[in-house]
Amino acid sequence: MLVDVPPVIRTRALTKRFGATVALERLDLDVGAGEVVGFLGPNGAGKTTTIRLLLGLLRASAGSAQLFGLDSRRDAVAVHRRLAYVPGEATLWPGLTGAETLEFLARLHGSVDAAYREELIERFDFHPATRVRAYSKGNRQKLSLIAALATRAELLVLDEPTAGLDPLMEEVFRQCAREAAARGQTIFLSSHILSEVEALCDRVGILRAGRLIEIGTLGDLRHLSAVTVEVTFNGPAPELAGVAGVRAVSCEPGRLRCQVQGSMSALVAALAAGESEVVQLLSREPSLEELFLAHYGAGEGRAGEGRAGEGRAQSSRSLAGHAL
């Protein structure tokens, strides 16, 4: 096994505590070059803490964070030459105009593709002559995005980058992100907009209360979770209680819906053994939204904790897979 090039992002047991509060607990994460990784979680789950640790703005309480094989904190300057960051809420200098801000950030970063920047200004329909204090939240966000994308940095760290953008601009952002990924740029994106993550990301991590409870490709995540099955039939409802892997059965005359975890064989056998004729059998993979709700749904008690444990086991599996 040869691993010559260090991953773009590698954290090991990365932990951040603020006093007694644990904001992030033992995060193990690897992001390879060219990957687009989404980081999902509700407010306060630890997404921004993770990003601030990766950027070296916070000190880890324990564990390590490396970017490009360099320590995120000690070698912050070298790391920052190779990345660009878009904060969730862009606070900039109110007295500068958009153009002045772009120029300033470009000079700080040291490298900028001026032609591409012009193109981005055009595509985002951005008016650079206005002073920052007069921009709306969405326009400030555009300014941040343009500044980051124009650097063509190897790694883009985006913290809820589309907050405040209208749907048209959200689409422009998605195109730009796809183009960046196609050029081989790595993207680490935190969001709670599921469709955005679904549309852009190769892999998705789900964070809850400071713990990474799932990580994998969308396919993996779907595979590991229940599939919704809808059965249309003639005759009495099939008896599905106690069938392996089947749960959440809801019935109405002539139609039945249930969730199946793992193999379908037991369900198919049970339906075949029944008296009714099966007219139609539809199965649907869960959307990311359903996956997400499954992890954060109301009334999660001990069962939820159990799932969180499973999630960690899965995440280490998928990490192992990645390292190979």
Binding site: L57, A76, H80
Partner: protein, 538 residues
């Protein structure tokens, strides 16, 4: 829960954001009143000396131009009225202006006012409530001045009751007056900075007109054109005249009324004056965080340089007159010697004492620079900076250099204009001595910047308040420490205790070097520690 009176909540908020500063000013006003009375009684214990002082002052045009016309100076009451009314109304005015622009325009610019106005309050009622809160804070200041005047002046020295209350009113009235100016400026301008600039221009013009009116009897009518002239025309404890008071009350009513009318009519977030939201890009001073910090500090630097320059000029202009008066008053010389081995009977001696004020102002400016450094972090802008290839240490070191440059510009302006003012009055204080005075004021300010930087690293959320508190505390220690016979080691703690009082004396090189070395040590420790802590938001 449904609140029947949403304006009470807003009133409480405004008072909560301003009462601490108001209380501090209240105490300061009381202290100034007490020290003026005790200083006068100590320096001029008997009637003949008092009469001689009155005669000297009557001959001194420069002094009256700056401090205002003296009326009944031969009594404790008359002198107290003249001396306190020379300074405190100006302080009250500046505080009122800053408090009003911050509360009315600052909150709106920060976007917090929107939340208030999304509730049950109309813009008109919200503005009226905020103004009421500001006036309540002005009343706190008034209370301090009144109590000190009544307890010391009234009970001990037998000031007449009516005149005493009238003096207290006269000292504090500029606060509501310039609150009204600030409120209107805050309606006109869309940014707090522009509102302060407009208000400061009004204040500056008022002061210059007042000085012109007091410089010769022929220009006396100019008094009626300037709010600060109206304040002087109240003549408390002398003739207690009404027209000045009436004009002030009318002006307050008109200005507040206009502000309220505009508040009810304009869009939230906008000003009446169209603000230029677009501009041609100016690409100078964008090359590094330090350059940007300098770019952003330029306006404030200019304001402080003008303000301290004006003070320096004023000190220079009156230096000769004061020295002459001091030459005939042993009491005044004694009072002055409390501050050090200074012969106030010379222009250099007076300027040495006056530059103590410049030093304090420079230290306050240095403390606000620590606040500006913290503001860069609390606003989240520092995140943006430090996610680019910018070293934490170079950012902070650059920010410190800008802070020092700001203070240097302010003290240099005071020194050079002080030299020019003195030269204009025929006292030949060498320019080199005045530059030493600038360095004398510069070194404690740099020390506070250094200590503030250490606090910024250790306790970011409170560093601005703590640094300002340190400036005030150590100055107070120097002010009253000797009088209350504080132990010498305690007095040594205050950097103000170590000033050379240039140009009265030659700059004490080793002390200055020690202060600067201490500053560098504290700042270096701050930079080192800042590299090791988390960035802390608001």
């Amino acid at each position: 829960m449904r609140s029947e009176r949403p304006q009470w909540a807003l009133l409480a908020l405004v008072v909560r954001r301003n009462w601490r500063v108001a209380l501090a000013w209240s105490l300061a006003f009381a202290l100034v009143v007490l020290s003026t009375i005790s200083g006068y009684v100590a320096a001029y214990p008997h009637a003949p000396e008092r009469l001689r002082l009155a005669a000297d002052l009557a001959r001194s045009g420069g002094l009256q131009a700056v401090f205002g016309r003296a009326h009944e100076i031969g009594t404790v009451a008359g002198f107290t009225a003249w001396r306190t009314a020379a300074v405190l109304p100006l302080v009250a005015g500046v505080w009122g202006l800053l408090a009003a622009t911050r509360t009315l325009r600052g909150e709106e610019e920060a976007g917090r006012a929107e939340q208030v106005l999304a509730g049950a309050l109309t813009p008109l009622r919200a503005a009226a409530t905020a103004i009421a809160g500001l006036l309540a804070c002005a009343a706190v200041v008034w209370l301090g001045a009144t109590l000190a005047l009544l307890l010391d002046g009234g009970l001990v020295y037998g000031f007449p009751l009516g005149g005493t209350l009238y003096l207290a009113l006269c000292l504090v009235l500029p606060a509501p007056l310039f609150m009204a100016v600030g409120a209107l400026a805050g309606e006109l301008a869309a940014t707090r900075r522009l509102a302060v600039t407009i208000g400061a221009a009004v204040f500056g013009a008022s002061f210059v007109l007042r000085v012109a009116a007091d410089s010769t009897a022929a220009l006396g009518w100019l008094h009626w054109l300037t709010p600060l002239g109206w304040v002087e025309e109240m003549r408390p404890l002398a003739q207690n005249r009404a027209p000045g008071l009436i004009l002030i009350v009318l002006a307050c009513a008109v200005l507040f009324g206009a502000a309220l009318v505009l508040a009810g009519r304009r869009d939230i977030g906008a000003g009446v004056l169209a603000s230029a939201t677009e501009a041609q890009p100016a690409l100078r001073l964008l090359g590094s965080p330090t350059a940007l910090a300098l770019r952003n500090a330029r306006g404030g630097m200019l304001g402080w340089a003008l303000g301290l320059g004006a003070a320096g000029l004023m000190f220079g202009l009156i230096a000769h007159s004061v020295a002459q008066i001091a030459a005939t008053s042993s009491g005044l010389r004694q009072t002055a010697s409390r501050w050090g081995a200074v012969n106030i009977a010379t222009a250099e001696g007076y300027l040495g004492l006056a530059f103590l004020f410049v030093a304090v102002a420079a230290c306050v400016y240095g403390a606000t620079q620590v606040g500006a450094t913290r503001e860069e972090e609390s606003s989240g802008r520092l995140d943006t900076l430090l996610c680019t290839p910018v070293r934490r240490s170079s950012w902070l070191a650059g920010r410190l250099l800008v802070a020092c440059a700001c203070v240097a510009a302010a003290v240099l302006s005071a020194a050079v204009l002080g030299w020019a003012g003195a030269a204009a009055q025929g006292s030949h204080v060498p320019l080199a001595r005045m530059l030493q005075a600038a360095l004398d004021a510069f070194s404690p300010a740099v020390l506070f910047i250094g200590v503030g930087t250490l606090l910024f690293a250790l306790a970011p959320r409170v560093c601005a308040t703590l640094t300002l508190g340190l400036v005030a505390g150590t100055f107070l220690l120097e002010l009253v420490g000797a009088a209350v016979k504080a132990p010498p080691w305690l007095l040594e703690v205050s950097p103000f205790h170590h000033l050379s009082l240039a140009p009265a004396a030659a700059l004490d090189g080793p002390t200055t070097v020690a202060l600067l070395a201490l500053a560098v040590a504290a700042a270096s420790a701050g930079v080192w520690l800042f590299g090791r802590r988390d960035l802390a938001g608001a």
